[in-house]
């Protein structure tokens, strides 16, 4: 198992476009990847391979998320997703 905690800095959080980019990336890994919005509801997690699940977490700018991966490429998945979220998921972001 591997995990990471990250702050989302996209201007509108993980809305449709960044959520889609995140899900596309997660889906490339064999590992089961789940994501939790620690700021909103730490008890609820969603599959990182479901765009509806990720959007349903209502992650806004400045929210902290936790990504957990389980499976053979778990480390790789976490490293790659951490990099993707930190770089803004294809959107221009500014440090808060």
């Amino acid at each position: 198992m591997a995990d990471a905690e990250l702050e989302v800095l996209n201007p509108s959080g993980l809305h449709a476009r960044p959520a889609a980019a995140f899900v596309r990336a997660s889906s490339a890994f064999a590992a089961d990847v789940t994501v939790t919005n620690l700021t909103r509801d730490a008890a609820r997690s969603a599959s990182a391979k479901s765009v509806l699940g990720v959007m349903g977490l209502a992650v806004a700018r400045g929210h902290r998320i936790r990504i957990v991966a389980e499976g053979e490429d778990a480390d790789e998945a976490i490293a790659s997703l951490t990099e993707l979220v930190s770089s803004g998921l294809g959107e221009a972001i500014d440090a808060a």
Binding site: V51, L52, G56, A60
Partner: protein
């Protein structure tokens, strides 16, 4: 007197036609396809509609459809539907119910944006159910006013544009997807019309006034005629212009002039190219600096600039270095109050007080250029003389010494200070292009402050003095390989554009909305006619005289 309903005007224009009421159908039919097959087919259909919108330059709506295509095959949605089906629901009812559950959950978050995505989910599951039960896509049979509670982008795009003459919705606001899409497609629309679905079901014709936000129910002959006349008059001009928007900017005898776009945000680039731009002739980069507490760093700027280069797919993009100061103050760049900011410390003159500003920006442009693998064009504003030009060339050389993997940029200057007009023969051999900013050049040449309304009558770039200045720049550039463009508002005014073509300008850069009108104007004249007209204009006394002469010719 006809009865009418009032709503919010969402997209301008008028139309009269029979109502066609769209309801997301209830699917009680028999499934002829599995849930998996139907979901995959729905994802394909939605993806194709998204691509169609992207080709038309409607990036924002295209992204909604991209996300919807992913929703159609979403594993959680599919699992929820499969479970409902296993418990006895028909597959079509199961996918609808699973979609409703997700949408309700989105709506329950209280997040306005997420709640709106709930409608997108319902739209997707309705499509899957429709495909699964073999019901054909909604189709217009004749010219229609489309009436609905709400109209998802996926349905709007799918309807026959020739038959869809107007939209009237119960829900929505001016900023809803439906409203934005109607405006960008030029379909008259009124939104927030309560009771319109029921009212439309009881009448045979609807008149839509998208300017006033009124729906006329079974309009009488007089109202119909009024709406039809207004639609025809506006439509004739707009349709004629629109027919030219994506053509080549050329005179009747085939003299070509580059048609470029002025943009102020990266997101405008794709739309500009779809609208018929040959290049981005002026990318105002102030957006990167405005509305922030601190200066944007190199990487942030580079990401924004790379997006525009990518959208250009190899066509030229001219980045104008930040023109800050004057009337455009920025919070984190404290500027001394000045009595005459337009004659003050603005644009490249800021370098002394803020030495990092321009080097950072030039490096960011080069990094974007290296990343995309496309040459950038860099344009310096407010260049007065050779000393200013040397400063700019040093700036570019220093940045290239740091960012070594970028293709060599094209370097050019704005010509807006009268001294640059007088020195154009000295500047032209050292730059690859000069772009004349006619707004500032006019105010400087005629000593008439742009921000002073009392002098508005003295702001006309058709003034013979301005025309002579432009001609002087064209002649000074001719012996070098330096191109001459005009990127002021004059280039987007059909009368101004005709004179500029006659003066021998190589490129006109304007708001993309002006492409159609400018191209149509040019296509009706020969180059010889315009050269003669431009020569005569330089001998006239006033701007008004020039305008009258061009319009009468």
């Amino acid at each position: 007197m006809t009865s009418e309903l009032r709503g919010t005007p969402a997209a301008p224009g008028m139309a009269v036609a029979a109502p066609w009421i769209y309801r997301a159908a209830a699917h009680a039919g028999v499934e002829s396809m599995s849930l998996d097959e139907a979901s995959a087919a729905a994802a394909d259909e939605i993806g194709a509609l998204g691509a169609q919108l992207r080709d038309a330059g409607r990036e924002e709506e295209a992204e909604i459809l991209d996300a919807q295509a992913m929703m159609a095959v979403d594993p959680e949605l599919q699992a929820a539907a499969a479970e409902l089906a296993a418990n006895g629901a028909s597959p079509a009812a199961a996918i609808i119910e699973a979609g409703d559950a997700v949408a309700s959950q989105f709506e329950a978050t209280g997040d306005e944006f997420l709640a709106a995505r709930g409608a997108d989910v319902r739209d997707v599951t309705a499509r899957i159910a429709r495909i699964m039960t073999g019901v054909p896509a909604p189709r217009l049979e004749r010219r229609s006013v489309v009436v609905a509670a709400d109209l998802p982008p996926s349905v709007t795009v799918e309807l026959d544009r020739e038959l869809l003459v107007a939209i009237a919705l119960e829900g929505g606001s001016r900023t809803s997807h439906a409203a934005i899409l109607s405006r960008s497609l030029g379909i008259p629309a009124v939104v927030g019309v309560s009771g319109v679905c029921d009212a439309a079901a009881a009448v045979s014709e609807l008149g839509v006034d998208g300017d006033a936000g009124v729906i006329h129910l079974d309009p009488d002959a007089e109202t119909s005629a009024r709406l039809a006349d207004a639609a025809a008059a506006a439509g004739d001009r707009v349709a004629l212009d629109a027919g030219f928007a994506t053509t080549t900017l050329a005179t009747a005898d085939g003299h070509r002039v580059a048609c470029a776009a002025n943009i102020s945000e990266p997101a405008e680039a794709a739309a500009a190219f779809s609208a018929g731009a040959d290049a981005i002739g002026l990318f105002r980069t102030e957006f990167a600096f405005a509305g922030r507490a601190t200066a944007p760093d190199e990487a942030t700027q580079a990401a924004a600039y790379a997006a525009v280069l990518r959208a250009s797919a190899g066509r030229e993009v001219i980045f104008r270095l930040a023109d800050i100061g004057g009337d455009k103050p920025i919070a984190y760049l404290p500027l001394e109050p000045e009595a005459n900011p337009f004659l003050g410390v603005r644009a490249i003159r800021l370098a002394e007080r803020h030495p990092d500003l321009l080097p950072t920006q030039v490096r960011a442009i080069l990094r974007a250029s290296a990343e995309v693998g496309q040459r950038a064009s860099i344009m310096a504003p407010m260049v007065a003389d050779e000393e200013d030009l040397e400063f700019v060339q040093r700036l570019v050389a220093d940045a290239r010494a740091v960012v070594t993997d970028a293709p060599a940029p094209r370097v050019g200057i704005m010509v807006e200070i009268p001294s640059a007009v007088l020195l154009a023969d000295r500047l032209a051999p050292h730059v690859e292009f000069m772009s004349i900013g006619t707004n500032d050049l006019t105010q400087y040449l005629l000593a008439a402050d742009r921000s002073n309304a009392a002098l508005a009558g003295r702001q006309d770039p058709l003034h013979p003095a301005v025309l002579r200045a432009i001609r002087r720049v064209v002649e000074a550039a001719a012996p070098s390989s330096c191109e001459v463009a005009v990127c002021g508002e004059m280039a987007g005014d059909p009368v101004g554009a005709l004179v500029l073509v006659g003066l021998g300008v190589d490129e006109l850069s304007m708001d993309p909305r002006a492409f159609g009108a400018v191209k149509r104007a040019a296509a009706n004249r020969t180059l010889d006619e315009l050269v003669v007209l431009a020569m005569a204009a330089q001998q006239m006394s006033t701007a008004a005289e020039v305008r009258t002469a061009v319009e009468a010719s």
